[in-house]
């Protein structure tokens, strides 16, 4: 069997303007990498400031459980009052886990 290790994937859906900040935040809290996808969407707010400026972003970052917890707490503390980020965790099994911790 191929050797996989359980890790967490954090997915964050954010507005364009927050990109640099959020990447800073996850890196400071121990993420070793991230993957960004351009997305569209609809949620609690019908209207988004960034709609006219282009799409939103989804950032996925693969981290271990402690790091995931730290990032989630930081995100809640810093952004949840003014911004309506969508943040969720999934369980994954990764190859070469040493790269991500």
């Amino acid at each position: 069997m191929a050797l996989t290790t359980p890790m967490k994937k954090i997915s964050i859906i954010l507005e364009r303007v927050l990109k640099d900040d959020i990447i800073d935040l996850i890196k400071k809290n121990g993420a070793k990498g991230w993957t960004l996808t351009e997305v569209n969407g609809e949620g609690s707010r019908g209207m988004r400031a960034s709609e006219f400026e282009g799409r939103n972003f989804q950032i996925d970052t693969i981290v271990n459980a402690e790091c995931a917890d730290r990032i989630l707490q930081q995100l809640s503390a810093s952004y949840f009052s003014h911004w309506s980020l969508v943040v969720y965790l999934s369980d994954i099994q990764i190859l070469r886990a040493e790269k991500y911790q």
Partner: protein
């Protein structure tokens, strides 16, 4: 009212209408994001270049008064907009500041439509006016944000950075510098693309703006009656003020009409991004609907010929 029909039956305005209608009938027509963004880069840079070449042929004595007048507009109009929206429109401090930032700044496309309209009406407008667009982009936003000076200094300085280094300023100012440094002759090699194709490209851009404005208009109901009324009243007030300043600074009738249109217009490129950063609490439903859903089409269709009339009468009167 000849100016009005002249204005309405022009490719630029009709393309805007085409976009708006296509949205109403739920067509799938839409410029791809990349093309829209590429077009906006092209338009901004072309305006900058043109302004730069014009500046290189303008003496300082001719230029400094309109420049000062433009800065005056940049300082005064956000005040008017802020207090109108705050007290007549009954919005929160943050929302009012956000709206003021949009009206304090300038809509590049309204500027272009106004230059076009002036030409069609047989009025000459000073060619260095595009240099004033770059000048008017910044102060309005900065002053407006001051109204809601949040405790969060960090986000404030980021918003300022966003405006100053935003692509609209960089392209306008960069194009201007390149135009001024290279001069008319060297720049003329670029004319087939940046001058010849300009109006056609503007038409395509207008189709997309029509689509977006029409989306916004649907949200207008949510913005409330008071606010919609303001979206119609602010442009004539700010426009008349701009025209008066322009004539006062020695601009021609056409030039004052264009400056009036700039003053009356609300930015929807530089301002929204800056506002989103500095004032995340402000509700986009207010400022985007006003700027893009109401004021922009109003100016394109009715405002511009109105400022032409105002400029005409004020010029006689002054």
């Amino acid at each position: 009212m000849d100016a009005l029909t002249q204005q309405l039956i022009s490719p630029v305005v009709l393309c805007f209408l085409l976009g708006a209608v296509s949205r109403l009938i739920r067509s799938d027509l839409a410029l791809p994001e990349a093309v829209y963004s590429g077009l906006s880069i092209y338009l901004l840079f072309a305006i900058g270049l043109k302004g730069g070449v014009a500046l290189s042929q303008t003496s300082f004595t001719e230029f400094y008064r309109p420049a000062l007048g433009t800065i005056l507009i940049g300082v005064v109009t956000p005040f008017i907009a802020f207090y109108a929206v705050r007290y007549a429109g009954k919005l929160s401090k943050e929302d009012s500041a956000a709206v003021a930032a949009h009206y304090g700044s300038v809509s590049v496309v309204t500027f272009l439509a106004s230059v076009e309209a002036a030409k069609r009406l047989g009025l000459e407008s000073e060619s260095y006016l595009s240099a004033l667009v770059a000048l008017l982009e910044i102060p309005g936003i900065v002053i407006a944000l001051l109204f809601a000076r949040s405790s969060n200094k960090n986000s404030w300085s980021k918003a300022l950075h966003e405006v100053v280094t935003g692509k609209s300023i960089v392209l306008l100012a960069g194009g201007m510098l390149i135009g001024a440094l290279c001069g008319k002759q060297k720049v003329s090699e670029l004319d087939p693309l940046f001058v010849g194709c300009f109006k056609g490209a503007l038409c395509l851009f207008m189709i997309e703006l029509g689509i977006v404005a029409s989306k916004r208009l649907r949200d207008a109901a949510r913005a409330g009656f008071r606010l919609i009324t303001l979206g119609f009243l602010l442009p004539p007030i700010l426009g008349a003020f701009g025209v008066a300043v322009g004539l006062f600074c020695g601009l021609s009738v056409g030039g004052a009409m264009v400056l009036g249109s700039m003053s009356a217009s609300a930015s929807y490129i530089a301002a929204p991004a800056a506002v989103r950063i500095a004032l995340p609490e402000a509700n986009p439903a207010y400022y985007l609907t006003l700027a893009l859903g109401i004021t922009f089409p109003f100016n394109i269709a009715l405002g511009i010929p109105l400022y032409a009339k105002i400029s005409h009468y004020l010029a006689i009167w002054l």
